[in-house]
């Protein structure tokens, strides 16, 4: 954790006590139930987030038939997995996945607005909404990727996919070498939102503990 957030433990304690008092008051008044807050938070923590996209990718790596279906009709393939109903609705309903291969690297941007498949990828990183990032990613993708620490071989074609209100793209990244023994859950733990946007590769030894 970052030291600069620990500069004032008394203010921390004060804020914590205040929030607790507010929640207690609301429950006492019957405004919210004891479970209400956890239900709201659960939406972000267990239903909508990058873990959904990671599950799809891990399944595709292990099951070639599922991968084919995912590439052909992403929305229908997503519906095969036991995701919460919101995954197939709202912003998640027009999703398409594109596959990285030895010859092609895919990068997702949105040059017009900030369409982002967040039921699958979670909340976008701050730079995704930055107009400079979007414009430069289209103009000079290789250079932008290098700034992300990702060097793409000149022989590999970079394809840019522009998300829109109609279609929200995400990337099926390459399975890293040395992961043959891993289970589906272990594989999913390696997959980051950045890899599913095409600004990173999946690494065999990412943090496997949460």
């Amino acid at each position: 954790m970052n030291d600069r957030f620990n500069y004032s433990s008394s203010r921390e304690a004060e804020s914590a006590a205040k929030v607790q008092a507010l929640e207690d008051l609301l429950i006492e008044k019957g405004v919210i139930g004891a479970e209400t807050i956890d239900q709201v938070l659960g939406f972000f923590e267990t239903q909508m987030g990058p873990f959904n996209g990671a599950k799809l990718v891990a399944r595709a790596w292990l099951d070639p038939a599922f991968k084919q279906r995912l590439l052909q009709d992403t929305t229908a393939a997503i519906a095969e997995l036991p995701f919460p109903p919101g995954m197939a609705g709202a912003e998640g309903e027009h999703m398409k996945i594109v596959e990285n291969t030895p010859d092609v690297h895919n990068l997702i941007v949105c040059t017009l607005c900030s369409c982002y498949p967040w039921p699958t990828l979670g909340l976008p990183p701050y730079w995704y909404k930055d107009p400079t990032f979007r414009a430069r990613a289209v103009r000079e993708p290789r250079k932008v990727l290098e700034e992300f620490g990702l060097s793409i071989d000149p022989a590999v074609e970079i394809r840019i996919w522009d998300s829109s209100a109609q279609i929200r793209w995400f990337v099926l990244p390459e399975r890293p070498a040395g992961t043959d023994a891993l289970s589906e859950d272990e594989l999913a733990a390696l997959i980051t939102p950045e890899a599913m946007m095409g600004v990173a590769k999946v690494k065999a030894r990412a943090a496997t503990s949460p």
Binding site: A16, L22, T36, G86, G89, G122
Partner: protein, 99 residues
Amino acid sequence: MQTRFEHFAATSMLGEVDAPPRCDGTLAFQNEWERRAFGIGLALSKEGYFEWEDFRTELIAEIAAWEASHDLGDPSWHYYRCWLAALEKVMAKAGLLER
């Protein structure tokens, strides 16, 4: 299918000055009270005690007030303290602080 309120609420802030801190596609909370405060704000608006946009207006005002009175690199910056101050204001307006 209709957009869930939680989805709408989080999306409305993204890329704006009041966007919550994130890490790897998920909300980043340093402490449990921040998580609870986030949940209270969303839950009350979801239940209709105040409009989400009214809460955001207070939050943006709190952030602006902090920025006006601090150096932008000031390490005492704390998103969820602004959130909490905004939450108390909208709760007071909605009459939720009266016992």
